[in-house]
Point group: C2
C-alpha cells in the first residue's frame, strides 16, 4: 500500500506466523515490545504468538469476538491493560482476529500516546481481503455504527490463509461476498478465475485462497493508495452493493451477517445496473450465479420490510448530507460511481429480490 | 503552519472573532455546520459565537475549565452531544477556551467519524502561544497524563488577544513563562523586546500582545512544520525547562500551574546550561531577571521534595525507554537538545533553586 511515509506491506502466505512477524526489522529492534490483542475465537494462535514473542511480549488482552465488542468499553479495557503493560513509544500492537478485533485494536493503537504502530493479523476472510487493509479503525456508539474512529494505517498486514481452516462455514461464505465484489468492481480476470475454480475456494484450498486473497488485497491496496481518506471519490467503488446492503443489514437488525446483506445488496445493484448502465443480461446472470454458488442469500425474506430498508438508506443519506449515490456496474470489472437513483427504482430493485 | 495538505493559518488580531471566522471559505460553504465546544470561563464569548453562527450552529457544549475535564468522561459527553447534533462529514468543531478545552475538543474532533476539521479559538495565553498550535490532542487517564490522544492538525487557529482581558492574573503570568521560553530557545530579538517592553505586556496592551503572540506562533509553527510528530527531534527544543519542570509539577501535585512549574524548570535548566554549555553568567542573569519580573516563582518551596521530583523525572524517563535528555541553552536564542545529565547534577540544580 503506497502512502508515502505511511506505506506498508501485506504479506500473504501460509505457514508459520511467528516466523513471518520476526522477519520485519521494526519488530526486531531491541527496544520493541509487543502488546497482543487476540480474538476469543483464535486463542490457540494467540498462545503460539505469545510463546514466539517471549520476552518481547509487553502484555496481552483477549477480546470476545462479535460486534458487541466494538465499543468504547472495550477500548477503555485496552487502555487499562496498556497502562499495566507500560506501553511506551517503542511498543507496537499486534491485532489477531476478525474485523471487530482489528477495528478495536487498531483504534486503541491509533489513540495510545497519540499513535503506536499496529500489525494486523486478520483471521477471517472478510478481514483478510478487506477490513485489515486501509487504516479504518473505530468503534460503534449505542446511537450508531462507526461514529467514533481514526484513520491509522498499519505497519504491516500478515495474512495466513491457513487460519481460515477453523472459520465457521457461514462466516467463510459471507467473506466470499467481498471476494466476488472485487471481481465485479475491478477485476474481470479474478471473476473468471472464481467461476472456474470456485469449488477449490469452497474447499478452502490454501494455494487457491492465497492466490485469490493476494488479488483482492492488491485491488484494495491500489484503491486505498489513491484515496486514503475517501476524499477523491475513488474509494467509493468499494461500496458496490453496500448502499442497499447496509440498508438491508440495518433493517434485518443484524440477523444477517454483513457479507450476506452485501450479497443481497449486490444483487439489487446488479438489477439497477442492467437498467441504468445497460449491464448485459449475461453478465448479470454470471454474477447472480456466482453469489448462489457461494451459498449466499439470493432472496429477501418477508420479515425485512422495504420501508425499514428505505428508512435505513435515508438515514445514511442524511449522514452524507446529500443524495444517495450508487456504485453501479457497466460490465464485470468496470463500475461507475456517483449515480443518483430514485426511491422508486430502489423499491423495484427490492421487489425483484423478493420474486 | 506548513504541512502539505494539512497546512493551516494562525490568525492573530484583535476585534470581532465571529467576523474573523466567517472570512474563511471552508466555514462559508453552504453545507458546513459548526459544533461549538466552549470553556466555562468564556461563556460570554461563546454566546456571541452562537449568535454569529445562527443557522450554521449544529449544537454546542460547555466544558468546565480545569485539568479534571481532560478525561475520557468529557469526550464521551461530547460524543453524546455530537450524536444529538447529528454531526456529519460536513460538520466542523470550534473549540473556544484554554488548553484543556482545546485538547479535549480537538481529540473529540479527531475521532468523530474518523476526523472532523477543528478550528481553535484559544483564550488563554498558554493556549494562544503553545497548545492550540501543533495538532496535539488528547486526555489523561487516572494512571497518567496524556496517555490517550491523537495528532490532529486544526483547520485554522484564530487568536484574539483581547480575550485575555478577563484571564486571572496568575494564569496570565503562567503563560508568560512559555513566552519567555520562545525567546530562549529560538529568538534573541523577541527576548530583547520582552526585556524592553515587559511592562506593556504585563498591562496586556493588545498591540504589544499581538506582536509577541505572533512571534511565538511563528516559532512554534516553524518547529511543528519541520517535525510534526516528534520524529526528527527538532520539536524537542520546545521542551526547554520542561524535563525538570514536569517533575516539579508532578511532585507539587498540581499546586503549581504548568507555567509556574516550567519557570522553575527553566531556572534549573539555566543553571545546568551554565555548567554544561557555558551559558554566560550575564545571559543567565537576564533570564532569571525576566522570570522574576513576570512574577513567576523563582524558588522551590520546601514542601516539594527532591526525591519526588527525581522520581517523577525517572517515570518520564521510563516512558521514553531510555535516558533523560535535556534541552540546554548555549546563549539566549540558541539551544542544544539530547544532552544527558546525571542525577547528581539535577540534584545540584534543584539545590540552587532552594538557595
Amino acid at each position: 500500500v503506497r502512502l508515502g511515509a505511511r506505506s506498508y506491506s501485506i504479506h500473504v502466505g501460509g505457514g508459520s506466523l511467528p516466523a513471518e512477524l520476526s522477519r520485519y526489522p521494526r519488530l526486531r529492534a531491541p527496544a520493541t515490545r509487543a502488546f497482543l490483542v487476540c480474538d476469543s475465537n483464535v486463542q490457540a494462535l494467540g498462545k503460539r504468538l505469545v510463546r514466539a514473542l517471549g520476552r518481547r511480549l509487553a502484555g496481552n488482552a483477549i477480546i470476545q469476538a462479535g460486534e458487541a465488542s466494538k465499543s468504547l468499553a472495550t477500548v477503555e479495557h485496552l487502555y487499562g491493560a496498556g497502562a499495566r503493560a507500560k506501553l511506551d513509544r517503542h511498543s507496537i500492537v499486534i491485532a489477531v482476529g476478525g474485523g471487530v478485533i482489528g477495528d478495536v485494536a487498531g483504534y486503541f493503537a491509533a489513540t495510545w500516546l497519540r499513535g503506536l504502530p499496529v500489525v494486523h493479523v486478520p483471521t477471517t476472510l472478510v478481514a483478510q481481503v478487506d477490513s485489515a487493509i486501509g487504516g479504518k479503525t473505530g468503534v460503534n456508539l449505542p446511537v450508531g455504527k462507526n461514529l467514533v474512529g481514526a484513520f491509522h494505517q498499519p505497519l504491516l498486514v500478515v495474512v495466513d490463509p491457513t487460519t481460515l481452516r477453523t472459520l465457521p462455514e457461514r462466516e467463510y461464505r459471507a467473506g466470499l461476498a467481498e471476494v466476488i465484489k472485487y471481481g465485479i468492481i475491478a477485476d474481470a480476470t479474478l471473476f473468471r478465475r472464481l467461476e472456474m475454480r470456485f469449488d477449490r475456494l469452497l474447499r478452502r484450498e490454501p494455494s487457491e485462497l492465497a492466490w485469490v486473497i493476494r488479488r483482492c488485497c492488491t485491488i484494495k491496496a491500489r484503491v486505498v493508495s489513491q484515496d486514503e481518506r475517501e476524499t477523491t471519490g475513488l474509494r467509493a467503488i468499494l461500496n458496490f452493493g453496500h448502499t442497499i446492503g447496509h440498508g438491508i443489514e440495518a433493517a434485518a437488525r443484524y440477523r444477517l451477517l454483513h457479507g450476506e446483506a452485501i450479497a443481497l445488496g449486490m444483487l439489487a445493484a446488479v438489477g439497477l445496473s442492467q437498467r441504468v448502465l445497460r449491464l448485459p443480461d449475461s453478465e448479470a446472470e454470471r454474477i447472480s450465479s456466482l453469489i448462489r454458488r457461494a451459498g449466499l442469500p439470493a432472496r429477501l425474506e418477508g420479515g425485512i420490510s422495504d420501508e425499514k430498508i428505505l428508512a435505513a438508506i435515508r438515514l445514511d443519506k442524511k449522514r452524507a448530507a446529500g443524495q444517495v449515490r450508487f456504485v453501479l456496474a457497466r460490465r464485470i470489472g468496470r463500475v461507475r460511481t456517483g449515480i443518483v437513483v430514485s426511491a422508486l427504482s430502489i423499491r423495484k430493485a427490492l421487489e425483484r429480490l423478493r420474486a
